[in-house]
Symmetry: C2
Subunit: 375 residues, 2 copies
């Protein structure tokens, strides 16, 4: 039976904090874990193997109903800027910024804060990485609304805290302090401590205790707060950022190209977050995954009746649980199980899916062998 | 220490039977077990994955010291004739014969017999398939000399009998009767019975009994004997072959193209060998292998210290016992074991090495799906 009633139109809640919110999508990353599909010129966030769209497009689509494209910025690298712009035609071109050099997240967020402050003295930055999957976008958006309200107060930093489902040793953890009142029922806590990449024993304790969340790198804070924290914690970088801003900021590519590469290469976590007071977290289960290896990508894709993710042009005989990517070539498998088979124009990877987190190591070895043509 | 003494030159034994011997190399076969490297246009005998040269070149090189190129014929298909000629530059072009249609081995051997009889009334055919490996070529050549002497007598057929090392159910077996005297100490027996593709139980009995050999398809007999047997056992084909011979034989491609495709498609074993009297065998351990699957090809190739057969442009991390063929593409493996990874321009195979005899089945399925472009 079809439900023919149209969905009731719910009047949007007025939310003044959201009207000052600016999305800052970080799309400058490069990684090796999805080699050979991912390359320097085609980073993970631009791959089409995590569902229908690229992770970048998914990130932009996820916030579109909260923040209009005119208030969305994307920071990426010069190598892929054109491709990013092609993927996100709604976002004004001058808001897709190519960093002249990879300096990790701190310089980039500082630059964004200046740009947004220039436009809107009450502007709030919503910093969003673009290399993860969020299976429950509604939960994400509810948490984000709540975070924006909380962060609209001067001096406060809010991060989205992810409820951990396994003792992952590769993430950062935040320890929860006292719980705050939240008018919309979201769980908001004061953060009392940060731990980067704990031991397995530590991570297990964290998960069992229920008092720790993963730091997913999503930060919400006023532009003015960001700049003040830079002045306190990173005075040298703060001065350089102010100079860039005074000479045109992101609107002055030549100046950017001269000054930006001299900034210290440091993450926002080390540069500010772990040093500043008044950090809060909205605890949320949003079905987050950082899609760290081919085995995670395998989980995200539809499968044939033998559990194979595979292209139409393939034939799998007695083969089960394989992840096959081959845009151009016909693939035949016989009697194989739980493999990642990734074929590209100039390189082929065959990995045990359970070992696919080690693909990065292989790529590192190729780098040492001077195989830059394949990276 | 190096042995600086030159090898002593041994005067060649005069052997009148060898001076009438003609090699007839059968290179018309096509198969699917080495897909995707082998194709209709590139059969197994033209692949370069069984050691330094192709199996065809190995076959020709193996007999060169006994039979000069002027007395060597190659029968192949029109599809690959040019490639065969390119691989065997020493053999006169008119002796590389393209069969206008695949008619199995009987018509081809009949045609060869007429051609050789025309040149030499005492001519002896040495019929040699070109799709196997012989690891002990000296043993092969000793057996061949002995077989030639025995076959120089009118009416006698000699086949090289391979000492079986496993109860293979895919081969033909010959049963040994009384042993003959042989001046050079070779084991020559009368053949009393033929069995094609026995059951496993039968094959096991055969191997244990020591009274059976594999029929490797290598036949030695006078041209006149071959033709007489055709007249007795296959009178219709004998007449057709005589007609082809009288109109120019292999030297008359147009006539060949008209008449040859009408000949019955039948193997020499069924057409003659199993029906005629006076069949003898020289029993020999020549390290023979028919190289029936990628796992056999794996055994024939040099390996790295982890037992991988792989190209220079590859990186194997925690990977063992794999057979990797990739003429063009860089290959990385991580944590995989005992796989055949065969990459070509338009198709990729990943198979468990132990299942590689099933590659033919997969190819058959592709044929049914109409993927002729890949066959």
């Amino acid at each position: 039976m079809q439900n023919s009633k149209p969905p009731r139109s719910v009047p949007k809640r007025r939310d003044s904090s959201l009207s000052h919110a600016y999305a800052v999508i970080m799309a400058g990353g490069s990684g090796t874990r999805f080699w050979p599909l991912s390359r320097r010129k085609r980073p993970k966030q631009l791959l089409e193997v995590f569902g229908r769209d690229t992770l970048l497009e998914q990130t932009a689509a996820r916030i579109r109903s909260l923040i209009p494209p005119e208030r969305t910025y994307v920071f990426t690298s010069e190598l892929v800027r054109d491709e990013v712009a092609r993927r996100l035609p709604g976002i004004p071109s001058q808001q897709i910024v190519a960093e002249p050099a990879a300096r990790n997240t701190a310089p980039c967020i500082g630059l964004a804060a200046h740009e947004i402050l220039r436009r809107d003295p009450e502007g709030i930055l919503i910093v969003l990485p673009s290399d993860h999957v969020i299976r429950k976008p509604d939960a994400f958006r509810r948490a984000l609304r709540s975070a924006c309200q909380r962060a609209s107060r001067q001096g406060v930093t809010v991060l989205l805290g992810l409820k951990p489902n396994q003792p992952h040793t590769g993430y950062g953890y935040v320890e929860l302090g006292s719980r705050e009142e939240s008018p919309d029922g979201q769980e908001i806590y004061k953060v009392t401590q940060f731990t980067e990449k704990p031991s397995l024993a530590q991570a297990k304790e964290y998960v069992v205790s229920g008092r720790y969340l993963w730091n997913g790198g999503m930060f919400i804070w006023r532009a003015s707060t960001v700049i003040r924290h830079f002045e306190t914690c990173q005075p040298k970088m703060a001065r350089a950022l102010a100079k860039i801003a005074s000479t045109g900021g992101v609107g002055s590519p030549n100046m950017l190209r001269r000054l930006y590469p001299r900034l210290e290469k440091i993450s926002i976590d080390y540069a500010l977050i772990e040093k500043i007071p008044d950090v809060f977290t909205v605890a949320v289960d949003m079905g987050w995954s950082d899609v760290g290896s081919w085995s995670v990508a395998y989980e995200l894709n539809p499968k044939d009746r033998n559990g194979n993710v595979r292209p139409a042009r393939s034939l799998c005989v007695d083969s089960h649980g394989n992840m096959i990517v081959s845009p151009d070539k016909f693939v035949v498998t016989v009697g194989v199980r739980d493999l990642a088979i990734i074929d590209t124009g100039d390189a082929l990877l065959v990995s045990a899916l359970g070992r696919s987190q080690d693909v990065g190591k292989a790529v590192k070895e190729m780098e040492e062998q001077g195989r830059d043509d394949l990276l």
